[in-house]
């Protein structure tokens, strides 16, 4: 039962990673940019969510507002930071992206203070359900549900809608897609919009789960997100999702059984190193 509970905890963590890493892998697949600043969109979502929740007392309202704001800021980062340097080598965009992350983190600190914010009322955190000895609070349940719903919606979008097909065509060959009349620029904005909405939902949910929203909360997700998309085989959506869950479960066991040697973040990177030694192309790369 204890082991099962650790697996469930790991799946919950994995779902938060999945919502983040899906966006990272979308952007990487499209532009070959390691979008570290994605983590700042996650933090932004958390801040917007907590401000809305604390002002209105309505947790539900926090999600659409956070998604809306993040859905504007994400594409803006593309327009203002990445688009002017798309012709440069990839590391230029990476450096710019790290710059955005650091600047935004201190921006949050200046705007909202260094102590972080906590939810005035977090009923989801305290309402607990018992599933045969395994207790989960409503935040944890929503994390899993949100990941399943949003990622399924994305799967439907990319396989069954015209925009989704356009998106996939652009990923596999931008010039050809463009010559078939697909608006490549629009596809990019759409990708940043979708990625940023997912990050915002993850941000609000992680804020609720931690019971704390703080300026640096994106830091860990930023580099762990990179580890996950590498594990998943860069740009591979299904691989990324599996890698997220696997990493969450490994961390859940690791924080209890390996805690005297390694902390949670170190476990993630040890796993990354081991996988890359055995399979340099990642767990699920095509070749």
């Amino acid at each position: 039962m204890f082991q099962l509970e650790l697996i469930v905890v790991g799946i919950v963590w994995g779902c938060t990673y999945a919502m983040m890493a899906l966006g990272l892998t979308l952007v990487y697949g499209l532009l070959r940019i390691l979008h570290i600043a994605h983590a700042t969109v996650f933090t932004l979502g958390a801040y917007i969510g907590i401000l809305v929740a604390n002002l209105t007392g309505n947790l539900w309202l926090a999600f659409p507002v956070a998604m809306l704001v993040a859905g504007i800021v994400g594409p803006l980062i593309y327009r203002l930071v990445y688009e002017p340097i798309l012709k440069e080598p990839p590391y230029v965009a990476l450096i710019a992206s790290i710059g955005v992350l650091i600047a935004m983190e201190d921006g949050f600190r200046i705007l909202f203070g260094p102590y972080g914010l906590s939810f005035a009322n977090n009923p989801w955190f305290t309402s607990v359900y018992d599933f045969g000895g395994i207790t989960l609070n409503v935040v944890q349940i929503w994390i899993v549900l949100a990941a399943v719903i949003l990622i399924s919606a994305f799967a439907v979008f990319s396989s069954a809608t015209r925009s989704g097909v356009a998106w996939r065509a652009t990923v596999s060959d931008p010039p050809i897609a463009s010559s078939f009349g697909i608006d490549v620029i629009r596809v990019r904005y759409t990708s940043f919009f979708i990625a940023s909405c997912l990050a915002a939902v993850a941000g609000v949910l992680v804020g609720l789960l931690n019971n704390l929203v703080e300026p640096g909360m994106g830091n860990i997700v930023s580099y762990k997100g990179l580890a996950i998309i590498v594990l998943g085989g860069l740009g591979n959506v299904v691989g990324t999702l599996i890698a997220s869950i696997v990493l969450g479960v490994i961390e859940s066991f690791g924080t209890v059984y390996l805690d005297k040697i390694l902390d949670r973040d170190a476990i993630a990177f040890l796993f990354l190193i081991v996988v890359l030694l055995v399979r340099p192309q990642g767990l699920f790369a095509a070749k």
């Binding site: 972080g116 906590s118 860990i220 066991f253």
Partner: protein, 379 residues
């Protein structure tokens, strides 16, 4: 008033034959204003500024006002070194660390070599004061506070079965080592132990483990931003064991995060909120009045550090660093965190306060008095 202060300045001018001027006496201060430790940095800054304001209102140092020379060390060791050198270049005669162990350790050796008295307000690494005889510390060492925690659990809370949850940095490890060392003396049975990292905010797997272990007491180290989420998640997960923390919890921010889950949490610290003592009240009430928020431990011990520097400069004069060092070493200062006397290593020996959270506020729970148990190392 104008006349009076200018008279004092004139007298000071006469008294000091060398470079006498009415200029401020400057005290070096490095503190994390940005980066991961910025929250504690802000409290430290508040504590130091309040001390400066109060000291100046009481006539400063022999009529001269004191002023802080502030540098942001971002909580990083690699920033502390250039900052230490810059402070030396500015000619300050005493420096206070309002920062964590990393930068404080890095700077301590530099100030020791330059023979500039250096006071660590709340960094707890044991090697800091071992840098030499110019380095002092106004907070408890981690081991000392850990031993106090064991006595608190065994003698006051009177429970035996303990699960330890340690933060894996120097602070958490030192607390854990002290707790474990003293545990047998108080008949404690440590049934399990877990470590977590500084950036962890999600403790699902540890909560599941604690539920399985079913202890009577949880001894958990951390700062408000880790302990707040940890305590709320333990309580939300249905764990009812008494939770014992330390001075890292000692801020209203902890209660702000953990809310109802914070009720009944007991901590070891150096600040007694219910004290009637004049110095402590001047700090606690002055802080609340100036900043509109309740004081915390970091602010209190930084306030104390500035008081000690000012007291030594008052007695030894503000210019001779050898005399200032001797005055700090031999001084006995009654400050916000109690009566401060340093041993030969530059560590303090005093009672540990136990506080309990009731109605969202810290209140007196017990005073842990045991000079032998709580003696800091002296070499």
């Amino acid at each position: 008033m104008m006349f009076r202060s200018s008279t004092i300045a004139a007298l000071a001018l006469l008294a000091s034959a060398a470079t006498a001027s009415a200029q401020d006496v400057r005290i070096g201060f490095h503190v994390p204003q940005t980066g991961f430790a910025a929250a504690d940095g802000k409290s430290a800054m508040h504590g130091a500024e309040l001390a400066v304001e109060q000291i100046n209102a009481q006539g400063g140092i022999n009529g001269r006002k004191i002023a802080l020379v502030v540098y942001d060390d971002q909580g990083r060791a690699d920033q502390a070194q250039p900052i230490a050198n810059r402070l030396l270049g500015e000619g300050v005669k005493v420096v206070i660390s309002g920062s964590y162990s990393g930068p404080t350790r890095a700077a301590a050796g530099i100030f020791q070599n330059a023979k500039i008295p250096y006071i660590s307000a709340y960094a707890i690494h044991p090697d800091i004061t071992r840098a030499g005889d110019y380095v002092f510390r106004t907070s408890f060492m981690g081991e000392v506070q850990g031993r106090a925690g064991a006595k608190l659990v065994g003698d006051f809370i009177k429970k035996k079965r303990v699960t330890m949850i340690n933060l894996n940095n120097d602070f958490g490890q030192a607390l854990g080592a002290g707790f474990k060392e003293a545990a047998p003396k108080f008949g404690l049975d440590i049934i399990s132990e877990y470590n977590y990292g500084m950036s962890d905010r999600q403790f699902g797997s540890i909560v599941a483990s604690v539920k399985r272990d079913n202890p009577e007491v949880i001894y958990a180290s951390g700062y408000f931003f880790t302990a707040g989420p940890l305590v709320s998640q333990l309580r939300a997960g249905g764990v009812t064991a008494t939770i014992v923390g330390q001075e890292g919890y000692d801020t209203p921010n902890f209660v702000e995060i953990a809310k109802a889950a914070a009720e009944g949490v007991i901590i070891t610290t150096s600040l007694d909120r219910d004290s009637k003592d004049v110095e402590m009240r001047a700090f606690i009430d002055g802080y609340e009045k100036k900043y509109g928020i309740a004081a915390d431990m970091v602010a209190a011990t930084t306030h104390t550090a500035v008081r000690i520097a000012a007291d030594a400069m008052r007695r030894a004069g503000p210019d001779d660093t050898v005399k200032i060092r001797d005055a700090i070493a031999s001084g006995k200062v009654h400050a916000a965190t109690g009566t401060i006397v340093f041993n030969e290593l530059g560590e303090i020996a005093k009672n540990v306060q136990a506080q309990i959270i009731k109605g969202g506020k810290f209140h007196h729970y017990a005073v842990i008095e045991d000079p032998v148990l709580l003696a800091p190392p002296n070499k």
